[in-house]
Subunit: 479 residues, 2 copies
């Protein structure tokens, strides 16, 4: 593959196909098959993310994928938000079901009726439970593999507290988890927004979300975390007996990192014209060993490569490519597939006692004595991770722009898009009209105010209505 | 909890509830919630099992949970077997779907049409791909948490070969994987059967299955592996170009360890009257530290217990129980929950420099110097694993019986049930009549011949029809 990332849409679609990440030929609209090259990485991401949640006191659970119609209907805003996009199970075998069921689009209405049975007193709180699962939504917008589809793979953590403080500090913790995983571990930069009131989760008090930026300058929502207040608790009867002997509704949050979509962001942000580049700890192949064979002496090289590969396999995911393709073909193939380090070994290298080692992200080559290979590959892995993150951060910084007028906003968006900070009248419901006008004028959405930074306009006017601005919002075109 | 395992049904139901493994109050029939105390173990089992499959060259994938009606209908025997138990998705949002979809009851019909696109030549074979997922079946028999329900959690590995030999050696490999995981790692004994022809998977040439024995003497099927021959390949067009230039149908197997059910077997076989006993590497709590507090000196003990707990936490999953309950209450609680090792520390222990250490499965107590605790707990873990497996093996051996006549079979079953080896006319389809008569007479099923042992009757008569016996079959009552 050799496509500049500037043609992002073509680049992404080609990568998905050529690197065998997804197969789009599954015969149901909006559904794709996640193939081993992607699935192995996604599985690794799941384990890391689960470990990070468990280190913060979350415990795993498995809730049914099916939810009864009456549960969905219990919370008014929620049903209004989700009913248009749920899949209905109406028949089983030959029987029409008396009670229809939905496939979970998200699990609040499956989990909270159970929480109501599990929580009695303060000693049961906080309750921090998550599940790793698929959810299904009847998406009618254009779908895009791993980014938007009718089925996606996520984690949802649903937490319960005895106070609003509990909720607010959980939002902070979720932001830290997001920073640790998405940014530190996966090298994907983001802004952590509080969404405007008109763009929150159906039934929530407040929605926060980590938004990253794709190479085409459009933003993509990564994990979101919702302050549910006591809204769902009141509906589903999640109560605790307080010290004063009174039953009180609990306070709740939920947090939802969509692992398949985060994978799409990782691939898009770190990849290059030749294909996939992955953080070292996520790569399916951390080192590929390529024998350079001439007519004579090829058996010695093959045996030597096998030995080196076995040694490296003690510490890394490693393969030796003994296929009959040319070295050049193999280089391209493994670059496309995101093998982190390439080790080339020919007869002359064996004589000189050194292998040629090539780093995937920079293409840097160096000669490394065989006995130092295991150590060296680990070092390259660390350097690569730091460097991928730094490069992404630097690029991301160039995508943060400012505008005080609609003209400035338009020109910022035309000029490579990105997040544009704008003074805005208000992020309460009254601001929705201005957001709609803004969208009409420049096809951008108002994504929220930064929760990870303290910034407030002073003496500025709303970019739309000209009233005094009470908030800095970020405008961006979105996926 | 204090229920003898002889009352197995009561014991099992009480354990599920008291140890908070499942909540049966979910408001859809046949569906249960797997609570954290079970989910954490099941998640650990998933990771171990996935690692074992990957070590044998399987790669992960994620296939959609929904399958189009026409895929299900493609394989005749398969649709006949599964149609009565599939859930149908017929509506999405407000739209009646033109093309109905089913929730996967198993994934052959989702995966093989894709395999047909992925496989061209011999170089694409063997293809070994698995997924970890839920499946849904409209079960109409009585359900039992984790053992039989409308939703279960499994792994399914679907492999493709260019010859029948490939298939047969995969059956061997699956048997080895089963031995490594179910028996060696989880300590659960089983017999590996080849099922009689009348009891095979819908669409298969042969079905093999690992059957264990529950404490009540009834058998429970654990992983099964199916030789699909070329049946599905022909239907779904999974072909390869052979060296002779001809397109030939591929040979296939599938293997399905049901993790939630295996968990039920582990709990049932290792547990005792006081509750759950788990292999050390599966236990949620590998060591619980209990402070023994008197009125004076309690602060010192608490501080000391905190320090010990922190040190142990470097190597083990450990909790300190500082709740206000009595030590006796705590002992019962953690025994119920299967904490592997209990460490008791009071003021006198601190003076003497030793803690009291109690092993969950045997109740053995010993005094262990504080500095030796980390090492000692690891040793106990190893001993416990070996001892749980040995104990289970010894008990299992007593459940293997023999009978040459129907009277002997009945009396063996009445006398504690178990697997009864019987001479049987044939395991080909012609034997089905005898199996049905046997079932009528003593409510036992013919489970198959041992694939993990070579045994053939000589000069024996079929226990039912009296014709010459060509096979030893095993009869057992089953879940």
């Amino acid at each position: 593959m050799d496509i500049p990332k500037e043609n992002f849409s073509e680049w992404y679609n080609t990568l998905i196909k050529e690197a065998e990440l997804c197969d789009l030929r599954y015969n149901l609209k909006g559904f794709v098959v996640i193939m081993p090259n992607a699935a192995d990485v996604i599985s690794r991401m799941y384990r890391l993310y689960e470990d990070a949640l468990e280190a913060r006191g979350h415990r795993k659970s498995y809730f049914p994928a099916l939810i009864s119609e009456k549960n969905l209907e219990a919370e008014k805003d929620h049903v209004e938000g989700f009913a248009p996009e749920v899949f209905w199970v109406t028949r089983a075998g030959k029987n029409e079901l008396e009670e229809k069921m939905i496939l979970r689009p998200t699990s609040e209405t499956a989990m909270y009726p159970m929480y109501s049975l599990w929580i009695n007193g303060k000693c049961d709180l906080p309750l921090k439970v998550y599940q790793s699962c698929q959810v299904w939504r009847y998406e009618t917008k254009a779908t895009r593999p791993l980014i938007r589809g009718r089925e996606f793979y996520w984690i949802e953590a649903h937490n319960v507290f005895d106070s609003e403080e509990g909720v607010l500090s959980q939002v902070q913790e979720d932001m830290e988890t997001t920073e640790e995983m998405i940014h530190q571990s996966f090298g994907v930069p983001f802004l952590f927004f509080r969404r405007p009131q008109w763009d929150k989760f159906a039934g929530a008090v407040d929605t926060y979300a980590a938004d990253t930026m794709m190479p085409d300058g459009k933003t993509l929502q990564l994990p979101s975390t919702h302050n549910l207040g006591t809204n769902f608790a009141k509906v589903f009867n999640v109560k605790y007996m307080d010290d004063d002997g009174e039953e009180k509704p609990c306070w709740q949050t939920c947090y939802g990192p969509c692992i398949s979509r985060i994978f799409a962001a990782i691939v898009s942000i770190h990849g290059d014209s030749r294909g996939m580049v992955l953080p070292f700890h996520l790569a399916n192949v951390q080192a590929v060993v390529i024998p350079i064979l001439r007519k004579e002496g090829s058996e010695t090289v093959i045996r030597f490569v096998q030995e080196v590969t076995e040694k490296l396999a003690k510490n890394y995911r490693v393969v030796a490519d003994f296929s009959e393709n040319t070295p050049g073909f193999k280089y391209n193939h493994w670059e496309l597939n995101g093998a982190a380090v390439r080790v080339e070994i020919g007869a002359r290298d064996i004589e000189s006692g050194k292998a040629v080692v090539v780093r995937r992200d920079t293409g840097e080559k160096e000669s490394v004595p065989f006995e130092e290979l295991p150590k060296k590959i680990g070092e390259i892995g660390k350097e690569m991770n730091a460097s991928l993150r730094e490069k992404a951060d630097e690029w991301f910084a160039t995508m943060l722009k400012e505008a005080d007028t609609m003209e400035e906003l338009k020109s910022a968006l035309e000029n490579g898009e990105g997040f544009v900070r704008i003074p805005f009248c208000t992020d309460s419901l009254e601001g929705e009209g201005c957001a709609e006008k803004l969208k009409e004028e420049c096809s951008a959405n108002v994504r929220g105010s930064r929760h990870d930074a303290n910034e407030k306009p002073s003496g500025k006017k709303c970019i739309v209505c000209g009233k005094e601005a009470s908030t800095y919002q970020y405008a961006a075109r979105q996926y």
